[in-house]
Symmetry: D3
Subunit: 246 residues, 6 copies
């Protein structure tokens, strides 16, 4: 099975960390094709970065499709471009945010999310409402760690994240905690041991979820929301993105 893992920001060191997390849980027979977005923001922090990450993300999805992959993982916790990516893909597409939420709801009655900056809270809350899983989430907390601080061991990021996990267990009644950024993938195991509740990494969740969907033969429905884009003219900087007759 060939799984395309796309980091929709352009920071290669982050792709490497994410790919390592993915390969650590992937099945023996799975090949992880990791790709860094070729254009757009170096990190995704809020709505503007989200929007400008889309062309790079969708170019990567399209390229991987022509390589014939079996499924895709979008490795940004905002689930950037999830629905648009599904219109391009034959196989399943899973975002690491939704994967974390689904997994949390299967092993705990109530879960919390600990993310980076507070400006990401509205994005995550809106996603939870869209998926319906807001009913199971007791809090979305920000550690006020910037995404690229996670790449810097000296930033003290881990301590601030750990403190928010402790608060969500003590004050919000969280039974499990989802880490709200792809760049936190390497912290899940140690934080689980530290806090005595499952701490969930969305990257591992999404990779194994795509493997699961592919194993059962499920593909993205092409009836309705995720039908292939209609062929039409695109102009200017983005003219090469125009959908063609298939």
């Amino acid at each position: 099975m060939r799984i395309h893992l796309v980091n929709p920001n352009t920071t290669v060191s982050m792709t490497d960390k994410i790919a390592a997390a993915a390969r650590a849980v992937a099945r023996p027979g799975s090949e992880i094709l990791a790709r860094t977005s070729a254009m757009g923001p170096a990190s995704i922090e809020g709505y503007y970065d989200d929007a400008l990450a889309l062309p790079g993300l969708l170019a990567a999805i399209a390229e991987a499709e022509s390589d014939g992959v079996d499924g895709h993982v979008i490795a940004c916790f905002d689930d950037t471009g999830l629905e648009a990516a599904r219109t391009l893909a034959r196989g399943p597409v899973v975002g690491i945010g939704e994967a974390g939420f689904h997994f949390a709801s299967l092993i705990a009655h109530r879960f919390a999310v600990v993310t980076t900056l507070s400006r990401s809270i509205p994005v995550i809350e809106a996603n939870l409402v869209r998926y319906g899983l807001d009913r199971r989430c007791c809090a979305v907390r920000a550690s006020e760690v910037a995404v690229l601080e996670l790449e810097d061991a000296a930033s003290g990021a881990r301590g601030r994240i750990s403190a928010e996990i402790a608060r969500s267990v003590a004050k919000d009644g969280a039974e499990a905690v989802v880490l709200g950024c792809a760049g936190m993938a390497d912290l899940a195991r140690a934080l689980t041991e530290e806090h005595g509740v499952p701490v969930i990494d969305g990257v591992a969740s999404a990779v194994t979820l795509v493997e699961a969907l592919v194993s059962t033969g499920l593909v993205t429905s092409k009836h309705g929301a995720y039908a292939a884009p209609r062929p039409k003219a695109y102009t200017g900087l983005l003219k090469d993105f125009a959908p063609r007759e298939s």
Copy 2:
């Protein structure tokens, strides 16, 4: 008052129609600065087009901001890029979809939406949930009219739209109907008379709503979700979109 009206698709004839609808309702003292997106899809039909319309839309918003406009209208019924645009804008930003929903909820207990293709239904439904106004919407119906057919008088588009309005009043209990595409702006008045219930055009709604917000001195909150983008590097095709220190 100077209001920026951006058509996030690249079809100039559609911008002209939208601008005419806007000017027909704008206050004497309001100047409507209509702009067609400089890049991306010729029409927006579904999630993929929505995603690729964002860079052109945000470039237009940024340009209008440096021109010192007082507010913005996003003239696509999907409210494409609404939140991202708000992070760039000082004044208010209103989408024609949300404007239509808010207006409908002020003059009717239950309203329906009649849009173009059925692939747009999920986008509209998700927006209604996000705004909370799904509780007031009794149906989202598709006329299966493609966006650019609206530019072609011989397409029979008007008849198909009218038929769905009739169904929404008779079967869904709609007390008012929102037209679900910027390209339908010229039809609202005649359809209102034909059906005896208010038929609402989002363009007129959004223009007057921005005028209203500006008159009261309200601007977009910069505390939280819509804070200005953080300065950072962008690369590749989109490198010029990088947010700078303000």
Copy 3:
């Protein structure tokens, strides 16, 4: 354009303040016809006052209708009698509570309400649920300022209101705050500057919202919930309120 602004309580000094707030934002061509209710409570604080304010409110709406106004603003934050007023009106009717909520949801992801007495919280919460906008409201807080204290500069009311705004920003994550009483209309601008987030006055919001609706030619739907009252006998003290054949 002629807009009827009705203060559903009987305190004339409050009508004067509200009318001044309305005129400060109204368009040059708009005439604000301010009216104080001719019967009922001197201030509206909770469900009982709300109920007894209705006959005076509806008499005012009916009178203004025969004067041929274009729209109505109900200047009580509880949106007292909103739906009943709509059954009498040809043009749009907007309550200052709903106007404040709608405006807040257009310029902020999450907003709070700061009102007078805690007994008004349930009324406001129930309205938010009815409109669907509870999903965007993070808190309804009471300052424990009685309505008529707002008419008394020596009451310290402003300080208590400001303190609750500070709490809603710091603790509830509010990105904007709606002032929950018509009598606070004169405080919005100064509190906005003090707190650095938009502080919204419902009176200004409702006046400009009615102007917007009227500009687009929209009227209240007479199909369904807001159909004209059926002619029938009324008896006793209220016999003159009986609806007649139109």
Copy 4:
């Protein structure tokens, strides 16, 4: 136990029918004090009638309170004035609409409501949302029978109501049906037999529900929403309604 049953419209024949339904189910020791509103509409059909029924209703509640009753039933399916009445009452106050909904949700998974005119549907739907019981209601249907037609045996009202019950069982999956008007109280038993599902009369439900609450010693909470009205001046036609110091 003394239970005050107030018909908030002014039609005495309807009060008689309601009182008979109440006495048919009341406990041996319960005294039903039936009262017809002394002012306002002859029947309640939509928001305007609802609003003008309030003074008469509240006068009746106040009078019964000074007579020392143990609880109140508001015999209009719109639950007209429910919250305002609770601010006046020491004991419990139950509306026949809410009583019917609560009872239906205890004996069936999903229930429907069959009411009089379609203009009452929004009132009932809004109440269901307010109580939370919309989640259990599969449909609110109108029989297009006017309230006073129920007082006229030759009107064919029963047949039209029965037809809507049949549709709600066959099409909506209703397992029980609530009759949506006090004037239908005499039909419940025969319609239950005819349709083979429980058909629920709100009057009987509310009377026995008040008896139940009183038996357990529960009274209306005076902490918060239903605190006694604050003493203040009322003017004009309604000056006698002014709350006094207690």
Copy 5:
């Protein structure tokens, strides 16, 4: 009227306390048939105990049905086995949890629940969502009192429960409080006086609610969810539970 009151745990002293609470509020003509489950857990604390309490509960319901009772009360706050019991019963079946929630929503705008151990919170929250009454509940709090501590006067249980009631009034805005365990039935009256808000016992609520339903002639709907079990083979330890042709 004969009402079957079943304690689904096997602790007889608890049944005695519950039966006393039931008899204290029952009508003169009502006979309370109290039964202790003949098999399963000594107390019900969380999902596992809930599951294993079901056979004993359903055996008791079946036995009471053949005795010809008019209705049933399930005296566990988790409303253990409520829907399954309804498939066996002709008359109404009411759980003490739902009874407490319904009663609270009739005398207060917002209520809290104070229960035993925190592991019961998810069960109660899920029930509130299922009934729709979560919209009226402002908090579910655990006193961390084990069920059988309530049988021991020296345990200090009452003090811990009282402290949580005080918190729910002061912090959560509760206007009434529901006691979240059958074993707290004897505390309601004194705690009401202590805190000045209604403190509600589910046992008294459920008994009088069943009396109310029976008085109006309502029975459990046999159309849909609560149809009688289909006859089929059961094997092993539970073979005697097999439903037979009726």
Copy 6:
């Protein structure tokens, strides 16, 4: 990896079919330990069967736990005993109903469920609400096929199921369909081809979902809802189910 697959009804032929479906999708290294419940109903159709299936189910879970399995699948579409099972399990426990819902929501915007008898609809609807996924489900339809008819090739069951799938696509706007019974596991692939939309089998979904959770190292949270049962006495027929000190 060792996965325990429990059929909570006692029909061995059904277990065989389910185990085959499970093994067809399981990873090479996974061992499927299929178990038929040793006590209770031959098929699960509605609330009563659900309740009596619990002891057999929980006995199977406990036994598998002492065998040291890595995770469990509950092969009944009602997700019978899901939460109780989680209190016994160290590893993850997934029901086939929830697995089907989660998978459907990842490959389609809106999905429908086609189940056996209409009495199962309320159970499924309540589960969807509990999981939050009701927001994504457009219809739950019954084929009126009894569970054991699925074991009989001559019953015409397949045709009736196929007809409901066709209706859900044409009328409800379903983009994918979840088969609502473990006994339909062998039909998914052919029905997918027949209808051109993904038709989802919960057994395959649940098996691969448990594999995914186990691969990532996630276990059931023991903080809160799913803490191990408290040791206590159980009596009568079920005395051996008493939880012991661990």
